[in-house]
Symmetry: C2
Subunit: 432 residues, 2 copies
């Protein structure tokens, strides 16, 4: 089960304390455990959350290979592979050297209760790629622990797609866009799905007022008046228009359009170039992906005015917070209505969150925090990727999420420029 | 529409800055607005949240009549009543002098979008009884603004109960227990229903793992393995066993037993007498209201050990926080699992909540905060009250929620003793 591979490779490594990225020759990883796979990296991406460690905010001291978004090809497999499945995830039986794979940004075993419930990003056997706990994917090769539970196999979609639609869809998907499936597209879909499925959104979305929104307790003894259009119109804000924020916006618009729900969405960023990117992306979405609601892009102040005008001062049904700092959380609080939901997928740090108990009580606020279970969200993210190649498929023009594809040698400059907001989503081709 | 009533009455009044309760003669309230009703108070209760103002924590300076839990009889109605409904809530047409009513603890108009969605406790026309904004019910008479949207009529249940079951049930309900419908029983039901209906609980409860829990997005392209018993067993903690905590426990057990869900519940309080009350209440619940799961009452340390042992260290599916301070929130955080939900119905103060962004991100925690929309939750609370008269019906023994019924003249002493934890739920009979 081994292809002939080199013994030394190029890799992007982070050095403490901060802002120190070096491209170095390091040994190619080996199989350490029977469940390991070695993946030859085809493309790896630079992600906003890489900046936490880059800036020295993570309390990290260990030199390590960066990057948690990558796609590639299996070149070596541990001894767990190739036999009968024996109750383990399918890939332990079916994954082969040469298969093309997408790796979610964290390892998950696929065999524990946490994974079965779909909470794969918190698998007790898990780890984040590109962290002190696990070498990352901004390299020519990467070791994937528990690869049978972690990876998605693009060469054989039968383990995750019930019919042949995924294989057929792959023909239409650009290779560079597949790397979006490692993190940012599932995270955007996760934010949007959490927003639409929250009980405090379901009242308006389903027309079943509280307490009928408390699914699955359907036969409550309540007599309710019918809701009118004003009550049922969903108002959302998306705070932060980096790549994940744009993915969240595209996913939210898609879900709203599929459900034919009445809506208003404001997408917010203080950074003008990010707003322009969002505008350009929106202009490319075909009518079937936009729905029939209102969508606008705004600065912070304009957004407050817009939400106030739209809702007569009531506020947003839900706010998607895709930044990961306290200003974003405070803005979300200001924008959300009484009995509204704040859905935070931003990576937050060591500060206390900026809310008093009274503020949260007085607004009946709901808050959802945390990391996307990217393995779990892969199938719906894949579907959206296939459907929205108009947005995700290309590279380099104003309406593309991916700004450029460069070699690993440009990593130090790309980290610097990305941190300054001077480039958008950067993809590394380790073989360029 | 007016019965002959006196012009002066006894009332329990709060004086700044704190711990100063006086029983005084004050004028009987008058109709101020066409939508007002004057209610002759039959019973009024002392509630844990009255202690916030009592202790001087509310920043209140205005002398006012206390109390937000009361039942009574309509003695005077404004000019809005008695004509055709004209699209307004039924009570404007049907409520009559002499009708027996329960008042939820806040006013709600029943005619705005917020009310239609069921978020009645945040009605923009609302106010909290027994606050500087609105005189309370610990008196012989109380003015109820927008009474047609606010009150529940027990003399004619057709406006809120579709069939005759509510009227029939009333025959079996003790009068003193009706006052529990003003606040604490709806609040307990609200906590329990929020817990059971949260998307992070639905995975286990419905057996639909994430992302299938994202109702109503049912036809997601995901292939999922079946969950096993361990994954589907719900583990709950209830933090705080004051009267609302006990109501939350009884409601949670009822919902779990009706749904026949596998569960484990630990009910927690540092105060031994509160734990004993919870034990005594539990011992009175007939098997149909207990379900087939485990239920235990514990101190804080014992609860941690119990949850750890039950879940092999994973933690609680959801924690109900029924205290309203930061120690309770911190304990809830410690007890809740990754991808768990904290349901807080405690009244919180001016302190920042005790969580860093990283803590919330790292556990994928969900938080629900806020006041119960008691008007909305009245029908299911009424059903539970009728069903569980074994617990709620009596007064004064170890297993009763209501500790004693006293005259208003005992209010200063009862406030003092209640604040010290020396008495349980106290009801005032203003005519005693």
């Amino acid at each position: 089960m081994t292809a002939q591979i080199q013994t030394s490779q190029s890799a992007v490594r982070w050095y403490p304390p901060s802002f120190d990225i070096r491209v170095e020759q390091v040994p190619v990883p080996e199989i350490n455990e029977p469940d390991d796979a070695i993946v030859k990296v085809k493309l790896a991406a630079l992600c906003g959350s890489d900046l936490h460690i880059y800036r020295g905010h993570g309390g990290v001291t260990k030199v390590h290979i960066c990057g948690h978004e990558f796609i590639g090809e299996v070149v070596k497999l541990g001894s767990s592979y190739g036999g009968p499945a024996q109750g383990r995830p399918d890939l332990y039986s079916t994954l082969k050297v040469g298969d093309k794979v997408v790796s979610p940004f964290t390892v998950s075993c696929g065999e524990c209760s946490v994974c079965r419930l779909g909470y794969t990003c918190r698998c007790p056997h898990g780890a984040l790629f590109g962290s002190p706990a696990l070498e990352g994917g901004q390299a020519q090769y990467v070791r994937v622990p528990r690869a049978g539970g972690t990876l998605y196999n693009l060469s054989d979609t039968s383990s995750w797609s019930a019919d042949q639609t995924a294989t057929a869809a792959l023909d239409k998907i650009s290779e560079s866009s597949l790397v979006l499936l490692a993190d940012i597209l599932p995270t955007g879909v996760f934010a949007a799905m959490q927003a639409l499925s929250h009980p405090k959104v379901l009242t308006a979305l389903t027309g079943r007022p509280c307490p009928l929104n408390f699914f699955p307790l359907r036969d409550l003894p309540a007599k309710q008046d019918a809701l009118v259009q004003e009550d049922r119109t969903l108002t959302f804000a998306i705070v932060g228009l980096g790549p994940v924020g744009i993915c969240a916006a595209v996913s939210l618009l898609d879900l709203l359009s599929v459900g034919q729900y009445p809506f208003r969405v404001v997408a917010i960023d203080p950074n003008e170039s990010r707003r322009e990117k969002m505008e350009a992306v929106y202009s490319k979405i075909s009518p079937d992906g936009r729905g029939s609601g209102e969508f606008t892009v705004a600065s912070i102040d304009d957004a407050k005015t817009t939400v106030h005008a739209w809702t007569s001062g009531v506020g947003c049904t839900a706010v998607l917070e895709v930044v990961g700092n306290n200003s974003a959380l405070s803005l979300a609080y200001d924008l959300v209505r009484d009995f509204g939901a704040i859905i935070s997928v931003g990576v937050h740090g060591a500060n206390e969150v900026p809310f008093t108990g009274r503020q949260l009580y007085n607004k009946n606020v709901s808050l959802e925090f945390g990391r996307c279970p990217a393995h779990t969200m892969f199938p719906p993210a894949f579907d959206l990727l296939a459907k929205r190649q108009d947005i995700f498929g290309g590279v380099g023009d104003a309406s593309n999420l991916i700004d450029r594809i460069v070699g690993l040698d440009e990593a130090p400059e790309m980290y610097r420029a990305f941190e300054k907001g001077q480039v958008g989503k950067v993809i590394f081709d380790p073989w360029k």
